[in-house]
Symmetry: C2
Subunit: 267 residues, 2 copies
Amino acid sequence: MSWYSELSRPYKNLDLVVEMARPLYEEVADHLREGINDGTYPPGSALPSEPALVTTYGTARGTVRRALQLLAQEGLIVSSQGRGHVVRAWEPLWWTLTSWERKHEAAGPGLDAWESDVAQQSRKPGQRVSVSIVLPPDTVRERLELPADQTTVVLRSRIRTVDGQPWQISDSYFPHHIADDTILMTPENTSAPGGLLAAIGHVQVRYRDEIGTRMPTPRERETLQLGTGTPVATHIRTGYNADDQPLRVMLTICPGDRHVLVYEITA
Amino acid sequence: MSWYSELSRPYKNLDLVVEMARPLYEEVADHLREGINDGTYPPGSALPSEPALVTTYGTARGTVRRALQLLAQEGLIVSSQGRGHVVRAWEPLWWTLTSWERKHEAAGPGLDAWESDVAQQSRKPGQRVSVSIVLPPDTVRERLELPADQTTVVLRSRIRTVDGQPWQISDSYFPHHIADDTILMTPENTSAPGGLLAAIGHVQVRYRDEIGTRMPTPRERETLQLGTGTPVATHIRTGYNADDQPLRVMLTICPGDRHVLVYEITA
DNA sequence: AAGTGGTCTAGACCACTAA
DNA sequence: TAGTGGTCTAGACCACTTT
């Protein structure tokens, strides 16, 4: 008998039912989590195999799998066939959404804030752009102050990559009167000094950012290749001109294991 | 036989092995998710019971439970004994971390930005404060620019509530030379016009906010009473004085189902 | 070929909630 | 008390990765 089953056993085998403080799989998960936190299992290393854990803890395989599943949900491990349960490292890149100095323009010609931040962290930014005409989701329609009818908008959809890996989804929505017959409609033009909006004569004098967090949809999980236990931040930026009219809504999906959003504010 | 098992059956019963595009539990989850999204199961309503799902899909109970677990991980349902699997609604409060106008001071005397935002949304803010001397975590120590020795700091730990429910954890860390012998050491003093730092003669001329997202720790899950599939945003604000010296670090844990962080920026 | 995790089944029993 | 979900077991077989 293993040391573990001395501490806490399935009730069915007990003559006297002791208070089951926590389910067995939680206790197993607690023990493994401790090992991860104290360096017994450093990032990149594998936990003991399932058969090994079964003999260690003296439970059924289903129970240790349940424990491992818990750790996966917490974003601590990734499990894959044939390779084991491997401890995960989170190494996010920072993304400066507002900076004290205007360093973005200086960072390099033709780079936007995201690209210059990525380059500054010695990684290689890239993007795939596509343009289409769509019915906007409600969140976008409201922010563009459009009526609730069948009004379409221009969607500039980007998948941004870092070192060739998919990193974030960034969708920009423009009203027709802004985007039609401009370079915004051409996926080939990806950037311009001061931004694409400025290049076609629009001045974004202020913007409002809204940041939420949730679990990814199955679709997002697939396109961004997200592991279990990886939430996403949703970043919505609405830009306005001097007349307080919305120019565009940018909706960015930022996986939590690869992003830290930074705001540098002068009070 | 149910309609479902006609479409996709466990391989063990097949003479000819058809390509198993996806596991059974994912197909069940897809079907239920669709029902949630199209209004068949509106927020607050319960999905069919597990025995019902077992007969509908013609699978073992373990498989429908696996599907339901997936939906729970995505934050779509909450499951509890005796009550069923209930569709969840996310109703976050917005929290303005930087605003175009300085409306916070006007909102009410003795209210900070958080409290005035909550009040503005017709909810009742509250907080429990405790003060202690601690060794700071590395993330805090670095930002306070303290040496890597055993230097302690002052921790003002708050659990903020809305309508009596725990809402967020907000920990402020101060160097001793800032906090010692001031009202910062007294949990009773919760606010002052212009903020507690201003009240003791410190001017925070700028700050840097860093926002990440991850799954909660078991501890956070418990103190904030978080359901499965609820990620948290981590908000770290480091404040500086005119000499670029850090005055404090505030680390806030914001559950995703109750928070939207807002930044209003003038370009 | 051996070892690893992934999927599915079948059944038992416990614990909570509501009528 | 009936019905709901929560936990655990035991076993079978499949699929991937490594040697």
